[in-house]
């Protein structure tokens, strides 16, 4: 091999190794931070992971919002019209959170079945329905057997 070729080979090998390592690291971080969405029916059916964060969404059931006095803890129920999940959240709810509104919560399932939310999202518009919630409702309507929403 001429020196020039050797240099090229070394460069190419370095780039390849660097690229592989970087890609591996990126994909690991990516996998670790993925959050899946489950409808209340899927959560009740036990499809949602335990010990890992996920998202759940549905309509806030009328009359279900309860505040624990002298604290910022709120408890409410969300529903996809077939099944319901109780959510507990400590903190300030978004402006557009209200009963009957579609919301999405991030958090973990507790062993007592209550979903402990670390974040509650209700977006931008009074007519707006989060797409996840819309399709969860549609899935629940078309399918009486609980199934993970697609």
């Amino acid at each position: 091999m001429t020196p020039k070729r050797k240099k090229r080979l070394v460069t190419a090998a370095l780039i390849l190794t660097g690229g592989t390592v970087a890609a591996a690291l990126i994909l690991t971080a990516f996998e670790k931070n993925l959050m899946y969405f489950y409808s209340p029916s899927a959560v009740i059916a036990g499809e949602a992971p335990t010990g890992r964060k996920f998202r759940v969404g549905g309509l806030v059931v009328n009359g279900s919002v309860k505040r624990i006095p002298r604290s910022l803890t709120v408890e409410f129920t969300i529903s996809d019209t077939v099944h319901e999940v109780t959510v507990e959240y400590e903190g300030i709810l978004p402006d557009l959170f209200r009963e009957g509104q579609g919301i999405v919560a991030h958090g973990k399932s507790r062993s007592d079945g209550i979903f402990e939310a670390s974040e509650v999202l209700a977006k931008h518009d009074e007519n707006y329905m989060p797409p996840e919630v819309a399709s969860a409702l549609a899935a629940a309507k078309s399918n009486t057997t609980p199934e993970r929403s697609q």
């Binding site: 990126i26 971080a29 990516f30 006095p69 910022l72 402006d95 009074e126």
Partner: protein
């Protein structure tokens, strides 16, 4: 009648754009000078037609013409005048009109400042810009015409989204658009270079100020958006890795790579391939941004309509641009752009490494943004990628980039020796370590290693920049006088790099030292955050032009000393029945104090969110410095037209020191 005139102007502009795209292109390829000569007038006529259309739409907003559907959806008689004006680009159709108007504005500017270019080349550039304009004008005319009538007209309009009723949002979209659309000039330049099969140093010099100008607008636009999110969304965040933010951030990252790679191409004749590819990709990502934001794929404040026809149209446009330019690149690129020789240790290589790292950073953001969308489109489930992914991966790419930035600033073009570099870098390295130690002590509180690393890297950038200036002035007779005579490109570079360091410091300190408290407070209660006392004095209600407000009154004290009063509000906008949070902020150079109202609780109490945000202003201050640096570099004498450069060269030659 007047709105129909606007519609007519748009149709005329489309036909003019067709002429602008086709005739100069054929002329440039075949060498017909009178065909080439059509480029300038068609581009200018198109601009005036679009300007007229824009003025007509503005007029409809000013006169509350609710027979125009777009006005009826986004304005209201009670809306204040300034917001009636900004409502022109407050939603989909109008913002698209602004998009094409800005595109034709950039084209107009190209026709003015093209003296340095061979007429054939500039005709090609203008024709490519015309083709882009055709795409967007037909998109507007066929799927989202702002002049569509609403019959029968309504008595009053649906009002502008209250989130957009804010002074920051009046200028944020136009500035960001100037950046997005500006990347089309570099794109047109790259396509023209591919068609011609070569890039002359002169052409590379010509495109630099355009690429920098684009980058300045993107920088300012993104910073404004971040600042707006901080004070308007009411929960103190300044960056959410929201797909819409990513959409503007990706072209910025690649645009940064582009201006650096372009500098090498212009000065040393190297990396022509890479520069062209970056210019193509920057524009493609700007288009992707438009697609993501405007098509309704993403649901956010930016996505106005979920009309599948629109999404498919933009997707087709995107496919044509990306596919077409890549095919052209594959066909013409490799054979035509060779050149430049440099050693493995040289400034060229450091710049190449960093522009590659910026491309990798872009790719990671792209993955996190598009992967969930792709999965969902394929029906494989709904996932979201959390901010931790972006934070971890992005910092991992940024650290080597920052390290190399410091070394690169000190290295020589063409070839350098490792010994010399190590020797030279010892001083800035020690200075950076010392500065970091001092800053960590001054910040106090709990010491976090990650924060120290972040600040250390920022100090490394500042130290190498300052020592670089010193090296430039060293050995001159009047070193302090020399500073004012340094080339503007160099001065701009230094200011921008220091701005970058400021942003890093802001990001790191805010991320690690912020305090965020949610508390239940009744009037008379107080809370202590970060050594500051927030006293909740009381509430009052008042009526705004189109909303009802509950305003809190907080007194801020430190060690018993009164500092200021904060007035956070909770507003209810009538027309859309939408609540909004207005934060109360006490800004400061080294810290912000932030309070916003949550919800009324039992009794007279409210849930209240309070933040202590150290150095948060540095994030935007840094962006401002980066933009300033770009602005100064843009006016480097070397980048002016050849005539100007020649005169300067003559003057310099006659002033040469013996």
């Amino acid at each position: 009648m007047i709105p129909e005139l606007g519609h007519f102007m748009l149709s005329l502009a489309l036909s003019v754009a067709c002429v602008q795209a086709v005739v100069p292109l054929i002329g440039a390829i075949r060498g017909h000078s009178n065909w080439i000569a059509l480029a300038t007038p068609t581009a200018r006529i198109q601009f005036f037609l679009l300007l007229a259309a824009f003025i007509i739409l503005t007029h409809a907003f000013l006169t509350n013409d609710f027979s125009v559907a777009y006005v009826a959806q986004n304005s209201n008689t009670a809306l204040p005048l300034a917001y009636r004006l900004s409502a022109v680009w407050g939603a989909h159709e109008g913002s698209l009109l602004l998009w094409v108007l800005i595109l034709s504005g950039w084209t107009y500017a190209v026709t003015i400042f093209d003296e340095g270019l061979p007429p054939r080349f500039s005709a090609l550039v203008i024709s490519v810009l015309g083709a882009v304009s055709i795409g967007f004008l037909s998109f507007m005319l066929f799927t989202s015409n702002p002049f569509n009538r609403l019959i029968p007209a309504v008595a009053d309009g649906g009002d502008l989204n209250p989130l957009l009723q804010d002074p920051g949002l009046i200028i944020h979209p136009p500035i960001l658009y100037l950046g997005y659309v500006g990347s089309s000039v570099a794109f047109a330049f790259a396509i023209a270079a591919l068609i011609q099969g070569r890039i002359t140093a002169q052409a590379a010099r010509w495109i630099r100020p355009w690429a920098i100008a684009t980058w300045i607008f993107l920088t300012l636009g993104i910073a404004l958006g971040s600042w707006w999110a901080y004070y308007e969304l009411g929960w103190g965040g300044w960056w959410f890795w929201d797909p819409v933010e990513n959409a503007s951030f990706m072209p910025w990252l690649l645009g940064t790579a582009l201006i650096h790679s372009l500098a090498v191409t212009e000065k040393r004749g190297a990396f022509k391939n890479w520069t062209v590819l970056l210019a193509l990709a920057t524009f493609a990502l700007s288009l992707l941004g438009t697609f993501l934001v405007r098509s309704g794929v993403l649901t956010s404040v930016h996505a106005f309509a979920t009309d599948p026809g629109r999404g498919i149209f933009i997707l087709a446009l995107l496919g044509t641009v990306i596919g077409g330019s890549l095919i052209l690149y594959a066909w013409r690129g490799p054979s035509t752009f060779a050149g430049g020789n440099y050693e493995p240790i040289s400034r060229e290589v450091f710049l190449l490494l960093n522009s590659s790292l910026l491309a990798v950073a872009t790719a990671t953001v792209l993955l996190g943004t598009l992967y969930p969308l792709a999965l969902e489109a394929l029906g494989l489930g709904k996932i979201s990628v959390g901010p931790p992914y972006f934070n971890v991966v992005f910092s991992a790419v940024m650290l080597p980039l920052i390290a190399i930035l410091g070394i690169g600033q000190f290295s020589r073009w063409k070839s350098d020796s490792p010994q010399r570099l190590v020797q030279r870098l010892a001083y800035p390295f020690s200075a950076a370590v010392a500065a970091t130690a001092i800053m960590m002590i001054m910040l106090g509180g709990q010491k976090v290693i990650a924060a120290g690393v972040g600040i250390g890297f920022a100090m490394w950038v500042i130290a190498t920049t300052l020592f670089g200036i010193r090296e430039r002035c060293h050995g001159r007779r009047h070193p302090w006088f020399i500073i004012f005579n340094l080339p503007r490109a160099f001065v701009g570079q230094c200011i921008a790099h220091i701005g970058f360091a400021c942003t890093i410091i802001g990001v790191v300190v805010t991320s690690f030292y912020s305090i965020d408290e949610h508390q239940r407070l009744a009037p008379g209660d107080s809370a202590e955050i970060g050594g500051y006392e927030f006293l909740f004095v009381g509430l009052r209600t008042y009526t705004g032009p189109n909303y009802q407000s509950t305003e809190g009154n907080f007194e801020l004290r430190r060690d018993g000393r009164f500092i200021t009063t904060l007035k956070p509000e909770k507003r209810l906008y009538h027309v859309r029945n939408m609540p909004m949070t207005e934060a109360g902020i006490a800004p400061g150079f080294t810290r912000d104090l932030y309070v916003s109202l949550g919800e009324p609780l039992e009794g007279n109490a409210w849930s209240v969110r309070m933040h202590f945000k150290p150095f948060v202003r540095w994030i935007w201050l840094g962006a401002l410095l980066m933009a300033c640096g770009g602005f100064i570099a843009m006016f480097d004498t070397r980048l002016r037209s050849p005539k100007a450069v020649r005169t300067v060269a003559i003057i310099k030659a006659s002033n040469v020191d013996p």
